[in-house]
């Protein structure tokens, strides 16, 4: 029995040391991780609306949108997520829409999708994404479908998914958000 206790004891000590050190590592790194994650999100939003200095989070119709504001606190655009179904699952994109109801930018990072590498993943490239800039309405769908977006060769499905996603996002935005969100010139001081 003494032996048993001894073994248990040794292992306990090791575990205690391990747990202690892990707790320490966690304490140190978790702060950095949280900061990094926040910065990353911020960075993404900044990329979509570079002029914005601050973002306001708002829930509309069950969806989170971020309203970007300039130095004067004026709303200059909104950012929200879309997740159209692509070739291999959802493509988690973010789009920004300016005060005139036109697309400011579409952001899709490599981590946001699972399309075929070298094929569907091309939707993450600027060449495809930048086509959406400054467009609205039916211009947002693929040329094949009557719009103005060029599909990626041999990845029509992914391209169409993104285009339709952006288009539907825009429709939703117009319907649900317009009027409830104070952009379009009206400024509102922060409380």
């Amino acid at each position: 029995m003494g032996d048993t206790l001894k073994l248990g004891f040794v292992l306990t000590i090791i575990c205690v040391i391990a747990a202690g050190s892990l707790a320490k590592v966690y304490d140190v790194t978790s702060v950095i991780i949280k900061k990094n994650e926040k910065e990353l999100d911020e960075k993404k939003r900044k990329e979509i609306i570079p002029q914005a200095v601050a973002f306001e989070e708002k829930k509309v119709d069950g969806k989170t949108i971020f309203i970007g504001k300039d130095a004067q606190g004026k709303a200059i655009g909104s950012i929200f997520k879309i997740a159209p179904r692509g070739y291999a699952g959802p493509i988690n994109a973010m789009i920004g829409i300016d005060e005139g109801g036109k697309v400011m930018a579409v952001s899709i990072t490599k981590l946001d999708q699972a399309e075929t590498p070298g094929l569907g993943t091309k939707v993450t490239g600027p060449k495809f994404r930048d086509q959406f800039k400054g467009k609205d309405g039916n211009a947002l769908i693929l040329k094949k479908d009557g719009g103005s977006i060029d599909a990626i060769t041999a990845a029509t499905i992914s391209s169409r998914a993104v285009a339709n996603g952006v288009h539907e996002g825009m429709e939703w935005y117009k319907k649900a958000v317009e009027g409830t969100v104070p952009i379009y010139g009206r400024s509102e001081a922060e409380p």
């Binding site: 048993t4 040794v10 747990a19």
Partner: protein, 270 residues
């Protein structure tokens, strides 16, 4: 932090204590000697011991089902090592494979053209093999194929054993349909390399080097080590002291003295 220490520590304690209890409660005896034996074996997994690989042999030794001398591949040293582990004295003689036929392609006649599998045992299923001599080496090299130590090569339709590589595992002997390759004590160097018990006249018809049973060697041997059995000279290893006097006398040059051929010399020195 506190929770962390308590939970992981607790888990550690439970596991440590639990495992130690369990290992006692469920203990199953494993013989440490088995591991030691396995380590002492050469690990060629040749199977010559008759067990499935070295592991099987090790288990058998520990069970007492196999002798410590069972590993022919390992030779004397292995046997000694195993003897030390198992606490028994090993007594082994170094063995080697020797070819008991000297009638290659050049010396012998064929009775037909063989069209079949290049395997000596398979070939003897067809009219006993294509050589006119019913006792001679078939020459298709099955012994060389089965040798796990790559110690046999074929020359002039006969196997040649590299004594240095051959540990005397006996696989070739088992594979040979004619018993023309045999594992014998390595220090018996003078060998009658014929297997034919036909009468001299018959042998002469089909082989220019076969033993014709003339008996000259019997007379030449100062040790009375040679006897004539069924028209074939037979050397008793126990009596023969490798003097080689018979070699010079044999009219068909059938007797070979391995002392004078390469590899065995060096081995003797070592």
């Amino acid at each position: 932090m506190l929770f962390a220490i308590i939970s992981l520590g607790g888990l550690g304690f439970v596991l440590g204590a639990g495992l130690s209890i369990a290992s006692k409660k469920f203990a199953v005896e494993i013989d440490p000697r088995e591991e030691a034996v396995l380590k002492a074996l050469p690990g060629a997994n040749c199977g010559a011991c008759g067990f499935p690989g070295c592991g099987g042999f090790a288990a058998a030794i520990v069970r007492g089902d196999a002798p410590v001398t069972g590993c022919t591949a390992g030779g004397v040293n292995t046997a000694k090592a195993l003897g030390a582990i198992m606490g028994v004295e090993a007594e082994v003689v170094k063995k080697v494979a020797r070819v008991y036929c000297k009638g290659g392609d050049k010396e012998t006649t064929k009775k037909f053209l063989y069209a079949g599998i290049p395997n000596c045992r398979a070939a003897t299923l067809i009219a006993g093999g294509d050589k006119t001599c019913p006792f001679g080496c078939v020459g298709l090299g099955t012994c060389a194929v089965v040798c796990p130590f790559d110690a046999i090569r074929m020359e002039n339709g006969l196997p040649v054993v590299d004594e240095e590589k051959c540990p005397g595992c006996g696989k070739c002997e088992k594979a040979c349909p004619k018993y023309t390759i045999r594992v014998v004590p390595a220090d018996s160097k003078v060998v009658v390399t014929c297997n034919s018990t036909d009468k001299g006249a018959a042998v002469k018809k089909y082989c220019s080097t076969g033993c014709i049973g003339c008996g000259i060697c019997v007379k030449a041997c100062p040790k009375q080590a040679i006897t004539m059995e069924n028209s074939l000279a037979f050397i008793n290893f126990e009596k023969c002291d490798n003097c080689g006097l018979c070699v010079a006398k044999c009219p068909t040059k059938n007797i070979i003295n391995y002392l004078e051929t390469g590899p065995s010399h060096r081995e003797e020195a070592a």
